[in-house]
Symmetry: C2
Subunit: 355 residues, 2 copies
């Protein structure tokens, strides 16, 4: 029986969670949804199998290693990307690593910055996806949409799989729609949010990449060959990895392969893509407020307040988002939480230290 | 010709401007409306006359002295109250001090935490009030109401003075009204806001106090006699001053004397009694925002934002008030700025350092 290798991708920047998330401490390394960081929760909710392989930005290596130590998890490897190259090269990298260990090895590729509230349902979905992957498919998890969200890509399911019940070939991928298009998609049915989680046999992916995106593997393979062990880390060669195309696994492989399949997954998934999303994932008090840290509320309703290292008092507001750290404060409304990106971009342009 | 002695009262706590105002640094000692503190602006806008006498809380003596030094003003005296006893005892104290220097001396008694935007009009009003005070009246400045404000006491004017044009005897004082009562007062006309600024001959006040409130003078006089010079300060005797009744000059004298007069004063007055008041006193940008400090606005309108020692970003809000310091952040709406008191009271009850 082929073994299952969890690969945890820790590459995101999470600018929409500023000022808590920063370049030096992105979303997955923060204690956002629980007393543990998102990457810790991601590792702890794995369905067993092999020890995880972590792929992270070189800058974050000590934080990642510390956080694994804190929860007593010995990673199979911590691979350091000298630069970010999106999920396409990371999937190739994962496949090359796993194929060395087990030529039949199956990969469970997971972002480290998503919330999954229903762990038993997640484990059931993984089991189903692994069965489909053993049958030679490249499987993604399709999240049952809770509304016409415009922040996600969508997947349209096609014919039913023979390998597993309630699994489907993917008919097509749909880029982030506008609101009208999203509403129309939901009406049609048979659509899912693209969760960015994948299950596939390493060999299957490498074979498909060879056929569909032949330029993807060589620089990654070279980066691995020229890379070196450095204490607990596997450090990729910088020059080689830089030559890899920055492309997502969706654009590089999934949208072109005939092997793409989807397993519907109603698992309490939330990508925590904004402060509003974190509000929705939180436990509101009797006035609908979600607060954490040193917070005083007076006449506030449906507010999200997060205080780190400072006191925050909110008086008589509805639906406000307040996030305060020692050097920066964000105040907005739940309606506008996507616009936080604009602030981060401005700070970057101005070369400021608060990003 | 009798001389005019400005007496500046620096006793207030200003809890409604938390988190910027604190017990250790109340409103008058903050740079709220200009690059100078409110007490500095108060002294600098004096119409000349004798050097000012400052009456302040013992705790604030060094801040007050430093701030006077900063603007190159040598005070006639800085008198330290060991405890706050409201404006009644302070008016007696001022009168005793001035009478020693000039038995005919006239006092211009001013709070240190009000904004006066129209300085020439203020000087004209003072000149008129001084003329009336020379005629033996105890004069207050009546602010032309800009609306049915419920946060101020009102003054109803009576018969015209003979001493000065557009000056009136006071018919009666009206405690802070509710909104209906305030609207009805405005309709009736002939009413003014009670500004808490007074002009009187020291001797007049002492004579009236002897008749109306005979218990007021003895403990204050004793506190002065038993007090001592300490460097630049005149330190009142604590035990004696503690025995003085804590009462306003309005309640102790003005509401009972036949000598009360009002000089209407359209001088751009604002008591900066809340963050909303400071918003109204500020210079809005083209989107109606008043911001100071390290502030980024994105889609915000009619907001008041104040950042001290931290960055504040406001995204897509209308009418919000955000005040951030290094250890505390207030977020509210202009409608609710009076409720800030509730936060300060709660912090006090909890014995917290942020008050």
């Amino acid at each position: 029986m082929s073994r299952v290798f969890p690969i945890i991708l820790s590459g995101g920047a999470g600018t929409r969670l500023w000022p808590l998330s920063r370049a030096a401490r992105p979303k997955q390394l923060l204690r956002l949804c629980s007393e543990r960081t998102m990457i810790q929760d991601t590792v702890l909710r794995l369905p067993g199998g092999e020890p995880p392989i972590l792929i992270c930005n070189e800058e974050h290596r000590f934080l990642v290693a510390e956080q694994m130590q804190e929860i007593g998890v010995a990673a199979n490897a911590i691979v350091l990307e000298p630069v970010g190259r999106n999920t396409g090269p990371a999937a190739i990298l994962a496949s090359l690593l796993v194929e060395r260990i087990d030529p039949e090895g199956i990969i469970l590729l997971l972002p480290s910055d998503h919330l999954i509230a229903n762990v038993p349902a997640f484990h059931a979905a993984v089991a189903k996806a692994v069965a489909a992957a053993r049958g030679g498919l490249i499987v993604t998890f399709g999240i049952t949409p809770s509304g016409p969200h415009t922040g996600y890509g969508y997947i349209r399911s096609g014919e039913a799989l023979v390998q597993v019940a309630d699994g489907y070939k993917i008919e097509r991928f749909i880029e982030k729609p506008d609101l009208d298009a999203a509403e129309s998609l939901l009406k049609q049915g048979g659509v899912y949010w693209n969760s960015g989680m994948f299950v596939f046999r390493a060999r299957t992916l490498l074979d498909e990449a060879k056929r569909i995106a032949p330029g993807l593997r060589p620089p990654v393979e070279q980066a691995l060959q020229l890379g070196r062990r450095d204490a607990d880390f596997l450090r990729l060669d910088q020059d080689a990895f830089r030559r890899a195309e920055s492309i997502s696994i969706d654009h590089a492989i999934m949208e072109h392969t005939q092997l793409a399949a989807v397993v519907p997954a109603d698992i309490g998934w939330n990508d925590i893509g904004s402060w509003s999303a974190l509000f929705e994932a939180g436990s509101p008090d009797e006035r609908g407020n979600v607060a954490r840290g040193d917070v005083i509320l007076h006449g506030a309703t449906n507010c999200f307040v997060r205080a780190e290292g400072t006191l925050v008092a909110v008086v008589g507001l509805e639906g406000a988002i307040v996030v305060a750290t020692k050097d920066a404060v964000l105040v907005t409304h739940r309606r506008h939480s996507q616009d936080v990106k604009a602030i981060v971009e401005r700070l970057k342009r101005e070369g400021r230290g608060e990003v």
